[in-house]
């Protein structure tokens, strides 16, 4: 061989597909983590996902109602081609992987030989390793549509079955895995019972509402729930979702358009009602987190609400400050999907939401629009301490998670 010509080393994975190991898919993220020196950083992912329906036959065994539990067991044992028992869904789930272009969105179907813990624990650990995460907060995926379930009781049944399964099979098996238990929000009294039942379980660091629903967050029937959650000292998250059948989105003919609007819309409506009805005044120690809507909507809504509030203060008499001031003090935001196309706009957004204290990093892994820590690390207008705060320190303070001395920067 010519001494001047080096042999190239074939990459072990030539084409990434649904069976590729998470560590191979995210190898570039791991490489960045080592280069950036994340070993000395605290990095917390406030919004990652697992596909709970892959474990649905296990989850239904945790249904409290003995009749529904047996129905579900028979259904999963005998029905051919069956969707998950009791679960509603949305058309959009079929399009998320852009027709096969983004395999990890279609399915994380890699081999897992370690059977000592649940498969989801292993998959989460692999992603945590790649992103250099200290903690990962995991959410379900198809269950995000539960707020639209036509059977209110089924939302209660499935939320509690999922929470029970999660608290038994997943959370206790890795100290880095955390959850904000899912509340059956359409049944306020049952939601209170869920707080009591699961609020102190190992790994539970908060509570969450799937935002795609039509119940008003300011309804009097929720005041006891908010008081209970405020008393726990743990935050309440609104996890966004879309709803293609919503009349406001029915004219959208692509997943792109529907998802771009839909994942923001539910949280915009809830935030508007949350602030204008003075929930932060009524429950000043209740911290809310607005999850997976990105950030671009927040400055828009701040400006709209401030402008209208000053003209119509009599319609929001509980407010003692501008709506935007509640939005950047009592409210926290997860970063993903960070709309980073216009850096001036991003800088303005970070300033308006007070990102240095209110912004929490999130990956949304393994979904098609996930972010790696690099999106924050590479922000040109942030100094190192601001990056450290957003990537982990803000979340640690909000959730009461340990910060080791070397992680403070």
């Amino acid at each position: 061989m010519d001494a001047q010509i080096l042999p190239g080393q074939p990459m072990p994975v030539q084409e990434i597909d649904t069976k590729t190991d998470t560590r191979d898919i995210l190898a570039h993220s791991r490489k960045h983590a080592e280069k950036a020196g994340y070993a000395d950083w605290l990095i917390i992912d406030i919004d990652a996902h697992h596909v709970e329906t892959a474990s649905w036959s296990e989850i239904v065994t945790h249904i409290d109602d003995p009749v529904l539990r047996d129905q579900a067991k028979f259904y999963h044992a005998e029905k051919i081609g069956a969707p998950p028992y009791g679960l509603n869904g949305d058309l959009g789930l079929r399009y998320q992987d852009v027709g096969g272009r983004i395999p990890h969105q279609a399915g994380v179907s890699e081999a897992v030989d370690d059977k000592s813990v649940h498969r989801d624990v292993i998959l989460s650990r692999r992603a945590m390793q790649a992103f250099a995460l200290d903690y990962m907060v995991i959410f379900p995926t198809p269950m995000l549509f539960l707020g639209l379930h036509p059977q209110t009781y089924m939302e209660v049944v499935l939320c509690n079955a999922y929470n029970s399964w999660l608290c038994e099979r997943v959370l206790p098996h890795d100290p880095g895995l955390k959850a904000m238990v899912v509340l059956p929000y359409n049944s306020p009294e049952e939601a209170c019972k869920t707080v009591e039942r699961f609020g102190d379980k190992q790994g539970v660091i908060g509570f969450s509402i799937t935002s795609t629903r039509h119940k008003p967050v300011h309804a009097n029937e929720y005041m006891r729930l908010y008081a209970m959650i405020e008393e726990t000292g743990k935050p309440l998250g609104f996890h966004a979702g879309y709803h293609w059948q919503d009349p406001s989105l029915a004219s959208c003919n692509s997943f792109l358009g529907m998802h771009a609007l839909g994942f923001v819309w539910s949280n915009m409506v809830h935030m508007t009602n949350w602030v204008l009805n003075g929930i932060p005044e009524r429950f000043p120690k209740l911290n809310s987190i607005w999850i997976e809507s990105g950030l671009a909507w927040v400055p828009f809504l701040m400006q709209r609400l401030d402008e209208q509030f000053l003209m119509r203060q009599s319609e929001a008499p509980l407010l003692k400050r501008l709506p935007s001031e509640y939005m950047n003090t009592n409210c926290f935001y997860t970063s993903q999907p960070l709309e980073a196309g216009n850096m001036k706009a991003v800088e303005c957004t970070f300033d308006m939401i007070k990102a240095e204290t209110q912004l929490l990093f999130a990956t949304d892994w393994p979904h098609f629009d996930f972010d790696s820590p690099r999106v924050i690390y590479d922000m040109p207008f942030l100094n190192e301490m601001q990056k450290r705060r957003i990537l982990g320190l803000n979340a640690a303070e909000l959730f009461g998670l340990e910060i080791k001395p070397h992680q403070r920067g």
Partner: protein, 122 residues
């Protein structure tokens, strides 16, 4: 500058690719209609392993003479490499994103001599 051997021409499918590592650098070498193209395996979006993605033809929308839409079809003349992280697509020949050509892959010089495919890297 360093010349690196990627493989023999007949080891490549057409269309096809080989992704290789040269030290810390990863490069995807693509064969398309007998020509070779090489790009750094680093998506300009978020640094994803773009050259390890799937190959898709470009999608076109079919319009009538009155500008009405008649669905979509494949552009058989243009092949895209799709970053598996987030779906950013790039023309295999030009390395440019079809919707925003300013977003483009980093090219690597590729040479074919005596049935061998080489790339030249710094």
């Amino acid at each position: 500058m360093q010349t690196v051997r990627v493989g023999r021409v007949d080891e490549f499918e057409d269309p096809g690719r080989k992704v290789i590592a040269v030290g810390d650098m990863e490069v995807g070498v693509f064969r398309l209609d007998g020509e070779f193209f090489a790009w750094v395996n680093d998506c300009p979006h978020q640094g994803g392993p773009v050259c390890q993605g799937r190959l898709f033809n470009r999608v076109l929308e079919v319009l009538g003479t009155d500008q009405s839409s008649h669905g979509r079809t494949w552009d058989e003349d243009n092949l895209h490499i799709v970053c598996p992280w987030h779906g950013f697509e790039y023309d295999v020949r030009t390395g440019k994103h079809p919707g925003m050509p300013d977003i483009a892959l980093t090219p690597v010089t590729v040479q074919v001599q005596n049935g061998e495919v080489h790339i030249v890297v710094e």
